[in-house]
């Protein structure tokens, strides 16, 4: 009963905040409306019994949206939304696509022959899900993750040799050299 109620509340938040993303004129508001929607989705995943996945979704989306706000603002005119602007482009086509996709997904959810539960739910559904998704490739994926991570760190190391701050601007360097010749 409580679970049902939570499900519908979270679903309403997710859809409502998702719609708000396109209603906000401000990039900051749009980004954080998206975060609210995604966090509600994380809550739904927790309701499914996948605690770990749900909380990780909230964690990752929080960090990602905080950074994405920076990029959204960087690339948009009128970042603070003080002048009216619209997040909607090609309204009619987009609406058609959205309605189509929604219909497809809803039809799939309602019409698919869902299997009956055989046996009991595992003690740790996250673990079971991970094993059934990754299976024998778990070690490979873990190693791959570490390699990717090490690559990121290495790239950062290479990039910091000439960081953004400590390098004198070309103009100033030029001026210093000219100054040196004159003086």
């Amino acid at each position: 009963m409580l679970g049902d109620l939570l499900f519908w509340v979270l679903a309403a938040v997710a859809v409502g905040a998702g719609g708000l993303v396109f209603g906000c004129a401000s990039m900051a508001r749009a980004t954080y409306a998206l975060l609210a929607a995604l966090s509600a989705v994380g809550g739904e995943v927790v309701l499914l019994g996948l605690d770990y996945l749900g909380v990780v979704i909230v964690l990752m989306m929080t960090l990602e949206m905080a950074l994405m706000a920076v990029f959204m603002i960087m690339f948009m005119m009128s970042p603070s939304g003080l002048s009216p602007m619209s997040m909607r482009h090609n309204t009619r086509g987009a609406a058609a696509i959205c309605a189509g996709v929604f219909g497809l997904l809803a039809a799939g959810a309602l019409l698919a022959p869902w299997p009956e539960r055989a046996g009991r739910a595992p003690a740790d559904p996250t673990r079971a899900l991970g094993l059934s998704l990754m299976g024998p490739q778990m070690l490979t994926m873990t190693v791959l993750g570490m390699v990717l991570f090490a690559t990121i760190v290495a790239v950062v190391v290479l990039a910091t040799r000439h960081g953004r701050y400590d390098r004198p601007p070309a103009g100033a360097r030029e001026a210093a050299r000219r100054g040196g010749e004159v003086g």
């Binding site: 508001r29 909380v55 909230v58 964690l59 929080t62 960090l63 190391v157 960081g163």
Partner: protein
């Protein structure tokens, strides 16, 4: 061992944390500066031109909410309000809410210096978050569980700090960094005239700066169950050990603050990625090998 706590613990949690945060703030403040919260209550809210006031207020309110939510898994003795099965990740997710909170508080008022403060915190977050996640993972790895109660239970004999000192140090560093406090206070630094907090007045300011102290206390308090054996200890009752150890961690942080100038992210981020992160990975590796060998 972790027993279910009575329901009233959930109600008692925010005021208890507030008292702990106020005590820490008082211990840190120079003599006579302790009346700051009173002052904020007496003040009016501020408005700036073309501000996004709802977002600024959201940021200010989110910070204490994040701290208190994270504290749900913090055990006093061997009991916490809710010993979630994924408690360690829960704490991490709630602490991560500080990212949007600080940025929103900096963005909302539409002022350049406060915006710089907000952006500084994101840079700081990028520097501390990965090593911090690795430190949390290391402790969970040592216990073989993400449940905070299980992590405490695994330290019945030997505290984790003895064989994961790097992870412990990284956690302390991250505690100061996520609360943008002490050497990591540049997001609200004096050089940007208060930074993210610089344009907040009245209730917003109280909520934001109070939330910062809450976050510091919770993050420092989390070091106790993760690395310092939680409620384990001779003679004293378990809840008493938790308090003593938390106070000791906070005292160490306060002492450190007096010894160090602030750390700027344009310098620190490189070290965080090239030194601290590999160290934290190496620590996790050592612990993983030990756990596999057991």
């Amino acid at each position: 061992m972790a027993e279910a706590a009575p329901l009233w613990w959930a109600l008692a949690l925010p005021p208890v944390l507030a008292v702990a945060a106020a005590a820490t703030a008082l211990a840190a403040a120079p003599a006579g500066h302790g009346v700051a919260p009173l002052r904020e209550l007496a003040r009016r809210r501020r408005r700036t031109v073309a501000a996004d006031a709802p977002l600024a207020t959201l940021g200010a309110v989110l910070l204490p909410l994040a701290a208190v939510s994270g504290a749900v898994v913090l055990p006093l003795g061997f009991r916490s309000v809710s010993d979630l099965a994924v408690g360690v990740v829960w704490f991490n997710a709630m602490a991560a809410l500080a990212w949007p909170a600080v940025w929103l508080a900096g963005w909302g008022p539409n002022s350049a210096l406060s915006l710089i403060g907000g952006y500084r915190f994101l840079a700081q977050g990028l520097a501390y978050e990965v090593p911090h996640m690795l430190a949390l993972t290391t402790a969970a790895l040592g216990a073989g569980s993400l449940r905070v109660g299980a992590v405490v239970e695994a330290q019945r004999g030997l505290w984790f700090v003895t064989w994961m000192p790097v992870a412990f140090a990284v956690h302390l560093l991250s505690a100061a960094a996520m609360a943008f406090w002490g050497p990591f206070d540049r997001p609200v630094g004096r050089d940007v005239a208060g930074g993210a907090a610089g344009e907040l007045g009245g209730a917003d300011r109280l909520s934001f700066l109070g939330g910062r102290w809450l976050l510091l206390v919770v993050a420092a308090g989390m070091a106790v169950p993760l690395f310092l054996g939680g409620g384990h200890g001779p003679l004293l009752p378990a809840w008493c050990w938790t308090l003593v150890k938390t106070a000791a961690v906070l005292a160490a942080l306060l002492w450190l603050r007096r010894r160090l100038p602030a750390v700027r992210m344009d310098r620190f981020a490189a070290v965080a990625w090239t030194v601290v992160t590999p160290l934290a990975v190496a620590q996790a590796l050592v612990v993983a090998v030990v756990v596999l060998g057991r």
